[in-house]
Amino acid sequence: MVFNTGAALLDAIVLAVVCKEEEGTYGYKITQDVRQAIEVSESTLYPVLRRLQKDDCLEVYDVECGGRNRRYYKITEKGMAQLNLYRTEWVNYSSKITMLFSGGDIV
């Protein structure tokens, strides 16, 4: 893609993806879901997930699956609050850019 995805936007996308799964979701699936929206390499998301986890935006729990543990990620209250902040910011930001691109004036 031409445009860079900044860390904040990446956080917001990951939070949005995880938020969709009420029961939580796991690393591989998160990566595939994020890839529906933006191009990310397989190694991009681990640090993001780890950070969000450390910041208490995501909580993790292990579920046994086929004789091994699978790590699930689930959004926390704090993560939801942060996601809502991002959503508001995004509407504000993107509408201005869209307006500018379409030749209108920002009111």
Binding site: G6, S41, D55, D56, R70, L85
Partner: protein, 302 residues
Amino acid sequence: MKREDFMRQLERLLEGVAAEEKKEALSYYQSYFEDAGEENEERILKELESPEKVAATIKADLGMDGAAGQGEYTERGFEDSRFVQKNPIDIRKNTAGGRQGQPESQDSSRAGSSYGYSQGQPGTEGSYGYSQGASTGDGSQRYGSSGDSKAGGQGYGGAGRGSQNSYGNYSSNSGDGRSTYSGRSGMEILLIIIIAVVTSPVWIGLVTGGGGALLGIAIAAVCVAGSLFVAGFALAGIGIGQLATGSLPIGFALTGAGLLLLAVAVLAAILCVWMCGKFVPWVLRLIGKLWNSIFSGKEKRV
């Protein structure tokens, strides 16, 4: 390279990383391969490129590559480093080192916004604050949300714009340059209004008369300029005709007089343009301001 080799190399490369972080990362990638299934193994190995790159990404996020701690993502636009340091949620300062050094990273000082996050007691209440001020200072927005951990409710509210629009206790009368403060006694205001009403026949006459006079002067100036042009051209034309056919002295005199008249006509035309473009609108604005100040004075009384 096989998956086992990849994991072994990654483990070796992550030496020096805290044991817990190392375990987390290794188990993540282990699970990743398992969840992807054997059929995707080759593709993932190819996309991950090398264990070195993956290890570097992990280390960069932990601030182990030295430079990562300084990399700020300016798209977020926070300017206050205190927030960055304290804020548990604002993690951007050290992400994937590979993306540092983008051209936009130099803008950080210009963006006039800051994020703040504060939490009172863990698990009790959290509040988020966000404020943004445009560099021109003509707009400001505030978002705030507070969430109770039990209820999980949060709200965004309050958008304040243009704080300069509120004048507090006084209103400014722009017309005469005076400001009427609420501190001024009611009697004084009443007196001003009474005087204004009583003398209204006089000043209304003056204003309309003045306006009419100005209009008359403008029209006269246009007419004068026009007639001067006509006369100047006529005289100059006759003079040139005389030069060609009749006596030279009369011809020269007429031509000279005609050119002089044309010069005066040009001056008059410039005066007209100035009158129409500058002076008349200025007078009209003045009248409008006077009217407004009188009008708002009356409103104040009501």
